[in-house]
Every structure is written in structure tokens, then in C-alpha cells.
Subunit: 747 residues, 2 copies
């Protein structure tokens, strides 16, 4: 009743709008009589130069010639994949050599009810008639075999086209039979200057379009950790899965050449909200109804499961959304990368203040604090022109598919020009203000009086968006791109940006804070799960009067979203700090105090606050507990199409057994996602897992192993290993001590 | 599984975001101990200046004083309704006179989990402490009765607030008991210069905020018809229904002071798509599952049915969406009006070309034409500042709640600044490009060659958005506001606007058309249903050579959306036009040829095309068939709270009986929606219907009678009648010949 049906809408549209790449058999009839020619009159003999009616016998899409030129060799599929705005060749074998008066064209059709003036039905002609939006030329004729060169428009619809040769019989057009094997996949083209996604630099194209492996940064700004991610955009079924996602979103076919619309749709479709999209978010300790977000090694398993079932996949958190979205984008040919923003603000009134509330006695007011600061948040950037905006806003654009509130009322975000965020031009679509707050909010520490009224006592303008990282081009290095989002704090440009943002209605904090001559800092030593935590609290008195300080140390276990999972320790203590002196107090938190309460978190937060008269000083630190190593080794020569072996080893150095352990392995172009289950690994026990595989693709490849332990806490451990697989040239392995091993935990 | 649950999201938010105006009983405890005071220690005797503990015994919201000053007298409800940014008074009776050391404040709370730093919990103090965002003062103390003046912030959240007096007992705050009768409704304030919806002109405020009756223009640009509409924003239950709509949309409470966000939500919520909103669209001939769009006389019935059931109401078309949306906006205090755009383009590729296809022989190609031109389309405008945009874009903003495709992927549209559309600044949110196309598209007439290729042979740059109307302020006159959307066609400013639009990616037609010396026009006489249609086709030859023309007249019945319902006549004829001469051919279409095929439409479209050699000329006209009169008379003196009578008469002058006839009556402040059913009205028969009512509101009032005939075709007939109802002053009726009667038909 509430949804529109063909019946209730029939008076609204001349024709229903095609919203699927699929087509109906009768969309393109095999014989179409000319206007005014009755079916009855039709005789296929009507028109025959040289006595013999022209017929197309065979169509060859020339994969071997086209794929390398279009950088699509790696796509694991039968059909030809090419990029728009660049010529590809196809060979048609006729029943006789072409005659000048032969009247024919080649057709490309996409979606149901294809139409020539909507770009979903293209007729490519060859001199004999006026040409359409795609240009065509005859490259070579050898007897009955003719080689055609065809250049799709640089703004063409992206997706799967049907290919036909249509020949005039005088009475009508005779088409070749529908042949799925000649279907053509057309992608965006970062190599084509006329394409909105053009990227001039080859190294960047190799990274942002063709690299099917990546690294997603996590942890905290002070201790960055790396999670290898297998994008796998070339793996079997992935391109079809991406088109399936567009069809599920019911994006009109006519819009599928528009990169701005497409990435916005993508950001909405990656999450299940509103539109039954790809992934279900889950930020809790209970993943029993699906797979824990930490347990994924890459995107392919998720995309294939979604495409096969049509049911949203459980479960994801921000880096999973960003990883899968990146696959979707690169697979369609859109330059894309994953970004990590450290100390990402989530203010739910959309202003530039993140409010942390404290009680009169200096203890955190957990009951009334509503805003939260994520240790980190991941999103994507795409590189594109913005024809919908004034000049100067092209380039990297933020798109975020993690479901967040109030992004224009729906769970999607962007594209938002990074330069607009840097300069505070928040008036342009889409969602610039939202992203601006994530990287620029001030942290306002408020004290709550007995009536519940709030007074700010400290403002931190540098904590939020402290560091913004993405993987460097052509290496595993960090690329710090904070300066693409922000001018240096306090610089004139920064002030101008903030003023502009405020003019656009972003409320800021302007409370004047007195210059305190007392300060406090807390320093926490890196620590492995199961060890005692060491920290030192230091008060510094820069004034000329002695300070008696009542101090409070608050210890919480937090989600990576900054939300408190549990509160496990309070220490109140008094110190006296002499004029111009510092005073340090060391603390030791025994492992047993936090361990039993960790559940699935590995993030400890320490807040120390001190009061001296009307002075209130404060410091906050987050500690990511580290987890032990996983060892991965390869054996056999890395040769294309030749079997190799991989071995994963782990020793449980904990004092307790690990239960319900999942081991998984994945390597794009090498080995598909595999996994192994261990009921229990006792203390000091070692497990060993061996697998064999056959490299499918050459070049620098990587295998990722991951260990995910359901019980006690979840550990996600990685070993990522790079080696060259060349046609038949073997390279020696990188020495073992070069194996970069990244240890992660669950958020 | 796919939706977020509190459980799966608990690690995401410090607190779930309140998205409902409703609150929980424990949100505001009656006694709240101060921080650090244990419940056990609490004794209400702790603090008592003058020996007696202060207590608030009674709260009086002073309706009679506040309502007139806030222009909210007409709201039919028990509770006080005021507008933000303007002082209202309330009287609190204490158990004893106030003492200077008394420690208390007045609280206003909205939604669940109200918070002082999010604007959902406001503590108004009176000198004794620092004040919050709402200011308060003591106006007068008479013994124990104290009169307070309170001024809500001009940007305050809009909705229903709970009111408490909170008094410090030393141990904690003692609140007055929850009392629903003191709940306060806060609205936007067009009278307040600090409110974003401020409207300086009083006459405009009276019309766009307070007028609960209106006129919606329909028909065609050449024959405009008027449909009276009862907005009824003050009627019983309507304000609560509007808040229910916001709650259903889950708009965060914190956003409900933001007019830009609120009107965008409204445009999405009026239609049932995406969000199970208010109305289901139906453009067909079958309304058996609900009420026909033509059968509504106003908004109240629809809003109340939705609020009572939570189920979308069947059925609506554009003017119904616009009418109900207008009620929603005015009810919340947002200045709003209904707009009608004649010849509204619905191009489904979002470019500036509306393509009409013709076959080689000049006949319309119905099979392949995808775009359509609506005879008219209705939307709304709201008056507001745009803090989210650069200066100069404030003022009227387009919002459209009729579900249309590709408005950013969801069924909603706007707010789009009218000035941005006029000047082609399409880069600003929301949906400027979409509205721009509706009023500025070119109509491109394309001829389809035998291959299916298309060549333009005529471009009409003035047809689309030919006229844009809204009801004038304080009268029933038309106000032509076309010039607020467009510069004069062909002017320098117009060219600049078009160039700008193109720069933002709106594709335009640039095909060069030859200057024809042959032209054709068709003129159609106005005609009542059941009469023969008279039309004259005139060819004009401005050349010096004789023209032999093969002409074709095509007759269709169309929906108001321009979509062809049925094709009922074709005439092919030849004419010879001498040099510098005209030649006219008259045609008569007998009633029986169209009548049987009308079904629920009353719109005839005539396309005449002529070919002379390679010349192709064409003209297109739409005829709205007229329908007969309905007579409405009043009896009794128009006195407040005194019974009157209304009589509706109709005579069936058709040669056939009318079956399944529904008569309905409505008049804001006079008589609620009433209806009467007649199984059959034979030819020449007259029906008479009498009702009595008691005027509730004074001033210029109107009654609308409507007749809706299900069978044969649907007729919607109106009589709108204005008369003054004054306190106790009686005015003589306007003479009968002054009764404005508007006759409509169904689309």
C-alpha cells in the first residue's frame, strides 16, 4: 500500500525509469521493422548489394588486445572489461566482404528499455551515417573479417552493456542474436583526461585504482597500529557484486555515469540502514549472530555473501565499512583510498563543541556526558572533479559509509571536498559541516554544579583530528595528510577557516580560560595484555605560591568509540607542589584489576584531575593494550600457476587458555579466504597450520593471516608478507626479519 | 537484524540520541539529591529561610494574557502555545512570600533524557544565579503569587515542553509534580527579528502564518482554475499531529530548532516512500483502495487520520501534498505558501532538455517518448534565512513533498533558494538543479529516423515554466511570481543564468534550427464536458513560394502529468498555402468521440504537425474540459457561537446519470469535514443538502463544498463563500452574485 506500484504510478511517468542493469529479452528485438513497414510486408531479401544480403556471423571482443591497454587484465571474468573514453577494438566476421553501400551499425545497450537520447542505447556508425555519442572507425578489413575501433564517450554510463551488430534489410534492422559472452563491462577511467575521475599520475593510478591490497590504520594517535586489508576488487564475482549493489539501490541507469551521484549512493548502500545495504553495524561485545568486525581479512567474502543472498552481512565497524567501500570504488574504476582520523569527534548536535562533563569533585560525570571522541574513525576519499560545484573544489572528496546520525537524515555521507573542509567553505554539498566537526571540534571540559548547570573549565583545541593518515603510494609507509584537512592550529588561515565555519552556523566555544600556573600530565607505558600497567602522574607548579592539590585518578575500559565499557578503578590522593617545582606520583595497575573486565575491549582510558582552590587541572590518556605475535612463513618458489605453501604458527604465552580460536588466511591473486577453528589453545601450547595455494596473478603480492579469539577477549593478529610473483622469474624471499608483523586487538 | 538495536549500538553512542518529543517518567525525578549527597542523608527540612521551607503550590500559564500577544489564540487546544524569542508570562503561587535567599529556578524539558548543554533542558533563573539560554525576570509579587516573565531563546527547540518549578532544599532540588496541563508548546516566530523565519511585513505574516484557508491553482497556463483548500492548522489535534510526524521521522530533538533541517524532513515525511510518511501517491484511474486525490477539501482529515493510525493515507497527487505540507509548516509557525508551476518539466536525466519524439511521418512517437511535461505542478515555498549558505540566499525557498525521482536518491526536495534558481547558482543545497529544470527546461522536438536515431527539428525555450502562481496576500487574487524564478527569456541576465547552470553540469540543447517561413497554430475553444470540441488549425506561409503541406492532427486524452491516458482520434489532411498567405481549417470533435474514453481524466491534448518537403512545423495545445456549477448558500446571522445553516444544490444537466456521488463540506473555524453520498443523480434531477454549524472563530471565514463523482468520470466542484463572523457584530452577507464559484475537474 505505501510503496508506489506500476499501477498507481502509471499516470506519472511516460515510462517507468529503468533502475536495473538487467534487461528484458524483448528490449532489443532481433528484427525491428522500419516505421510504417508492416510485419507482413517484410521479406529479408529486400535489399542486397552485390546480390548477397549482408550478415554478421561472429563477434570477437579481442580480450587479449584490449585488456592490457585498459588495465583490466586482473579482473577474474570471462567478459571484456574496458574503461570509458578510450578506444577498444572488436572484430566482426561477415558472410562476405563489406560493400560501400552496406547499411549497418554496432549497438551497445544497457538496462531495460534502452533509449538513444538517454545514453542507454548507443548506435555506433562507420561513416555511412551521422555518428552518435560513441565514435567508431574501421581499423582494418581482411576479406570478411573487419576490425572496428570503438571509443565510448568519456561520460558514458558505467556497467554491463549488451553488444549487437544491426544490419538494414531495407525493410528493417536485422540484429545479431543475443550473446552473453560478448557483453561488455564499462568502467570509469582514471587514465582518460576527459573522464571526471582522471588522475594524471601513473603511480597514483596504480595505487588508488589497481592496488588490491592495502593497510588500514587503527590504534591511537600516540600508538598507531596497522591492519592489512585485502580489497580484492579483481576477484571472481566482485564486479558483478558491485553492479548488484547499484541495482539494489535502484540507482537510475541514466545516473550511472555520474561519479558524484554514484559515490553518494555507494556511501548509503554499504550500510544496511534505510536501504537493506551491504553490512550491519555492531558496536557491542556480542557478535554471536554473525562474524565479529575484527574477524574479516578483506572485502571479498562480504561482497560475495551479500550478492549471493541479498541479505546484509553481520557485522561491521568503521574500518570494515571503509575497506569494503574502497573495493566497490576501485572495482568500478574510481580512484579511492581509506583514511583514518585520530580522535574523531562525534558531536550529536553538529556544532564544534565536544562536551565532556565532570562533577563538582572532579570525577567524570558519565551519566550526563553525551558526546564521544572516537580513538579513530575510518572513511574513504575519492578523486574526482565536481561539475556540480564552482571551480577549485575538485580533487579528493570525503565519502563515509559508516552509519552516523544526522547526515542529512540518512545513513550516508559525502562526497565532501577536502579543500572545502580545509578552508571552511561548508556551504557546498555534501555533508561538509559534518566532516568538518569530526576533524575540528574543540573539546570542552565542563564542570556540573549542584543544580546541573554547566561551566567550562578547560578547552582543548588540538586534541580532535590530531592526526589523519592514509597508506602511502607504492609502499607500506604512513602518509600523514592532516595538512590537506587543516591549516596549522592558530595560524591566520586557520582562524579564517574557523570564522567561515562559524558564519555557516557551526557553533564554537569562546569561553575565556584563565592562564593556569598549575598543570598535570599522565604518562602511560606501552603494555601487553596480561601485564601490569605502569603510569606516572606529574603535577607542575609554574607559580610562586605553594599548591596543595587534591587529585583523582579515574581508570576505565572504553570502546574505540570512546564510550565507557566499564569503570574499574578510582584513586584519590593529595600532593603538595612547591613553587616552580614538579611533583610526580607513580602508579602500578595490576593486570588482574582490568583483565577480568576487558571483555572484548583492549582500550584503557586514564583521566587524572587535580583541584587546588578554584583551580581545576586535568589530563586524559588512552592506552591500547598490545597483543602477542603470529608467525607466517612461505615455502616453495613464488611462480605463477605453481603450487606454494604457507605456514601459520602461534604460541599461547598467556597464563590462561585461549578458547574458540579462529585462524584465517587471505591473499589477493594468491589464496582465497580460508579459515581454521581451534576449540582451545592451552598456556604455552603452540599451534601450526599449513595451506597450499597456486598464485593466479604476478607482481608484488601479500598474504594476511588473522587470529580471532572469541572467548576471554578477541585478538586479531596479522602477519603480512610481500613477495614477487613474476611470469617465470623467481625472486628470492625477503629475509624473515623483514616480515612486517602487525598486532591488533578488537575494538 | 539489519536495523540498529540499542544492544548492537551501545558501544557507539555515550547515550542514545533522543528522537522523540515524548519523555519517560524518570527523566525528570521529582527529587534530585545534589552530587555527593546520599539519598539516606536527605531530610526535606534541611534548609528553610524564614523557618518555612519554600514550596510551589500552583502554576498558572496565563493563557488569556499570552495567546493574543503570541498570535496563538486560534489554536484549538487546552495547553498554552507561544512563539520563541518573545516573552510570555506565568504565575507561580508559593506557600509563602519569596525571600531573597530562596534558591529556585523554573525548568523547561523536552524529549527523553533532557540535557542543559543540548538545549533540551532549560533552567531559567531569576537573578539569584547565572542565567541559561532563556532569560527570566520577576514581573510582580503579590504576597505568595509571583508573576514571572520568560523569554525563550530565538533559536530554541520547537515542540512540547514540560514545565517545573525546582526549589533547593539544601540537600537537593525539589521539583513540582509533573502536570500535563502546564505543558508548553513552543513554535517558530515570524514576528521575532532574531528568529530565522522572521517576516517583517504584518500583512504577509497574517497570510503566510495565520491564514488557515487558501487557494491552489490548477488547470493549464491558458485556463487557470482555482481549488480552495482548507489548511486548518489551528484545528483540534493538528499541532500534535505535526509533532507526531516529526517523531515518526525520528528527527533528533536537538535539530528541532533548525528550520532548514525541519522543512527538509517535512518534505520527506509528507509522502509515504522511504519513511512510511503521511500520504500515498496515486496517479491512475483506480482509487478504489482509498479516497481519490480530488475528493479532499483540506488537510485536517488527512493529518488526523495519519496521527491516529500511523498508517499512510490514500491517495494524494501534487496539490494534496502541497496543501497538507503547507498546513504542517504554518502550524509550526514557519511562513509558507503553495506554488503552482505551469508546464512543469519532469526530465528524468536531470538535464535541461525535455525530449518529445516524433516518427518520420510526423505522428507522435508515444512508444519512445520518456520525458513528460506536467500541465502544472504544485510545491511549497518557505520564508527563512539560510545560515548554512553564503549571504544573499535567504528569503523564499522551494520545498516539494511530491515524490519525484532522483531528488538526491530520496523522495524529498529542498529547501532550494528561489534566488539561486533565478540566478543559476545551482551549487548550493538542496536540489536547486532539480527545481531549475522544472522551470527552465527547453522542449526539444525530435524526429526519429528509421534506425531509431534522433534529430531535433524544433526547440521551444518558453513553454516550460510558462507561468508560476501563488495566492496573493490578503485576497483571492492570483499573484504571478514567475519573475522571482526567471529573468525575461532572452535577456542578458537570462543568458548569464543559463550559462551558469550549464557550467554546473546542466546539459542544454544547442541545435541550430533553420528560420522557417512556414508555421502552424491550433486554437481550441473552451468547452464543457459533454459538448463537442471546436478547434481551428491555421497554417501561415511567410515565404514567397507556394507550400503544399501534408498535415496531421493527433487527439489524445492525457493525465495532468502530460502522460497519454488514451489516444482517440487521428486526422490526416492536405492543405496548400499561397505565398504570404494563411490558410485555416476548422475541426469539430463530437462529444461521443472522447466522452466514453475520458475515464477519470478531463484533459484533451491536440498536436497538429505539417510537413512540406524537408520542413516540419508543429503546434501543441491542451484543453481542460470544464464542469458544471455547484450552488452554496448560507442562512442565519453569522454570529460567533450561534447556529447557522448552509445549503448545497446541484442539478445534473448531463444527458446521462451521475452515479456514486460524494458531496463534502468544510470550513476552518466553522464546520468540520462532512460528507453525503448519492447513489445516483438522474439527468435534469436536482439534489439539495442542508447542514447546520456553529462558528468557532471570528473574522473572514470560508466554506468549501465539493462534489466528487466516482463513476463515469470524477468531477470536483467547489463553491467558496466568504463572510465575516465578528464577536457580536453582524455584517450583511455579500450579495449572491459576489459569491465566487470555482469549477474544477479531476486530474
Amino acid at each position: 500500500m505505501t510503496g508506489p506500484t506500476a499501477e498507481t504510478q502509471k499516470g506519472r511517468y511516460a515510462k517507468p525509469l529503468p533502475t536495473s542493469n538487467l534487461s528484458y529479452s524483448d528490449d532489443v528485438p532481433e528484427f525491428e521493422p522500419f516505421e510504417g513497414v508492416a510485419e507482413s510486408e517484410v521479406t529479408p531479401r529486400a535489399f542486397a548489394p552485390g546480390g548477397v544480403l549482408l550478415e554478421a556471423l561472429k563477434i570477437n571482443m579481442c580480450q587479449d588486445v584490449n585488456k592490457p591497454k585498459h588495465y583490466t587484465t586482473d579482473y577474474y571474468m570471462q567478459n571484456l572489461v574496458v574503461r570509458r573514453g578510450q578506444e577498444f577494438v572488436m572484430q566482426v566476421t561477415f558472410n562476405r566482404p563489406l560493400a560501400p553501400e552496406d547499411d549497418f551499425h554496432i549497438e551497445f545497450a544497457i538496462g531495460s528499455d534502452p533509449s538513444p537520447n538517454k545514453g542507454s542505447l548507443i548506435m555506433v556508425t562507420f561513416g555511412n551515417r551521422g555518428s552518435g555519442s560513441w565514435s567508431g572507425r574501421i581499423l582494418q578489413s581482411q576479406g570478411t573479417a573487419v576490425m572496428f575501433g570503438i571509443t565510448p564517450n568519456a561520460a558514458a554510463i558505467v556497467g554491463k552493456f549488451q553488444v549487437y551488430v544491426a544490419i538494414s534489410t531495407g525493410m528493417g534492422m536485422q540484429r545479431t542474436k543475443r550473446d552473453p559472452t560478448t557483453d561488455l563491462y564499462l568502467l570509469f577511467n582514471a587514465w582518460c583526461p576527459d573522464d571526471h575521475v582522471f588522475l594524471p599520475n601513473e603511480a597514483e593510478r596504480q595505487e588508488y585504482v589497481l592496488n588490491d591490497e592495502g593497510v588500514i590504520y587503527q590504534g591511537s594517535s600516540t600508538s598507531v597500529t596497522e591492519r592489512p586489508w585485502t580489497y580484492g576488487q579483481f576477484e571472481r564475482g566482485i564486479l558483478d557484486a558491485c553492479i548488484f549493489i547499484l541495482d539494489t539501490s535502484q540507482t537510475p541507469i541514466y545516473d550511472r555515469g555520474n561519479v558524484v551521484k554514484l559515490v553518494r549512493v555507494g556511501s548509503a548502500m554499504m550500510n544496511s540502514q534505510d536501504d537493506n545495504g551491504v553490512m550491519v553495524g555492531n558496536w557491542s561485545n556480542d557478535y554471536s549472530l554473525g562474524k565479529p568486525p575484527t574477524s574479516w581479512t578483506g572485502s571479498t567474502k562480504i561482497l560475495l555473501q551479500y550478492a549471493n543472498t541479498g541479505v546484509p552481512v553481520c557485522f561491521a565497524q568503521c574500518w570494515v565499512y571503509a575497506g569494503v567501500f574502497n573495493t566497490f570504488l576501485r572495482c568500478l574504476g574510481i580512484p579511492a583510498r581509506v583514511i583514518t582520523n585520530y580522535n574523531s569527534a562525534h558531536d550529536n548536535t553538529g556544532n564544534l563543541k565536544t562536551d565532556l562533563l565532570f562533577n563538582a569533585d572532579g570525577t567524570p560525570d558519565r551519566r550526563n556526558t553525551r558526546d564521544s571522541i572516537w580513538n579513530y574513525h575510518c572513511w574513504n576519499e575519492v578523486m574526482t572533479k565536481r561539475p556540480d560545484l564552482p571551480p577549485g573544489l575538485e580533487g579528493w572528496q570525503v565519502v563515509d559509509s559508516t552509519p552516523q546520525e544526522t547526515s542529512d537524515g540518512y545513513f550516508r555521507c559525502g562526497p565532501a571536498p577536502v579543500i572545502a573542509i580545509k578552508e571552511g567553505h561548508l556551504c557546498y554539498p555534501f555533508d561538509c559541516g559534518f566532516v568538518f566537526a569530526e576533524v575540528n571540534s574543540d573539546v570542552v571540559f565542563l564542570k556540573r554544579d549542584k543544580y546541573g548547570d554547566l561551566t567550562p573549565f578547560r578547552v582543548d583545541k588540538t586534541y580532535i583530528g590530531e592526526k589523519i593518515l592514509t597508506k602511502a603510494v607504492g609502499s607500506q609507509e604512513q602518509n600523514n595528510i592532516t595538512d590537506t584537512y587543516k591549516f596549522p592550529e592558530g595560524s591566520a588561515e586557520d582562524e579564517a577557516t574557523m570564522a567561515r565555519a562559524e558564519a555557516y552556523g557551526c557553533e564554537r566555544d569562546h569561553s575565556e580560560m584563565p592562564e593556569d600556573d598549575l598543570s598535570v600530565t599522565v604518562i602511560v607505558e606501552p603494555c601487553v595484555i596480561g601485564q601490569d600497567v605502569q603510569l606516572v602522574v606529574t603535577f607542575k607548579n609554574q607559580g610562586k605560591v605553594l599548591r596543595n592539590v587534591t587529585a583523582h585518578l579515574d581508570c576505565d575500559i572504553v570502546f574505540y568509540t570512546g564510550v565507557v565499557a566499564s569503570h574499574f578503578k578510582d584513586i584519590t590522593f593529595d600532593v603538595t607542589v612547591l613553587p616552580y617545582q614538579s611533583y610526580s606520583v607513580p602508579f602500578k595497575i595490576p593486570a588482574y584489576e582490568y583483565q577480568t573486565q576487558l571483555s572484548s575491549q583492549t582500550c584503557l582510558r586514564f583521566i587524572v584531575s587535580g583541584q587546588s582552590g578554584n583551580l581545576h587541572v586535568l589530563d586524559l590518556k588512552v592506552l591500547e593494550l598490545q597483543t602477542p605475535d603470529l608467525k607466517v612463513t612461505l615455502n616453495g618458489e613464488p611462480l605463477l600457476n605453481q603450487e606454494m605453501g604457507v605456514k601459520v604458527e602461534f604460541t599461547n604465552h598467556f597464563s590462561f587458555p585461549l578458547r574458540g580460536v579462529n585462524l584465517s588466511l587471505e591473499g589477493a591473486g594468491l589464496i582465497g579466504p580460508k579459515s581454521k577453528y581451534y576449540r582451545e589453545i592451552p598456556p604455552q601450547a603452540t599451534i601450526t597450520w599449513q595451506e597450499t595455494f597456486i598464485p593466479r596473478l604476478p607482481g608484488l603480492r601479500r598474504i594476511t593471516a588473522l587470529m580471532d579469539c572469541q572467548e576471554v577477549r578477541q585478538l586479531a593478529l596479522f602477519a603480512s608478507f610481500s613477495h614477487k610473483v613474476h611470469g617465470y622469474i623467481t625472486l628470492t624471499q625477503i629475509p624473515a626479519n623483514n616480515i612486517s608483523i602487525h598486532i591488533h586487538y578488537l575494538y
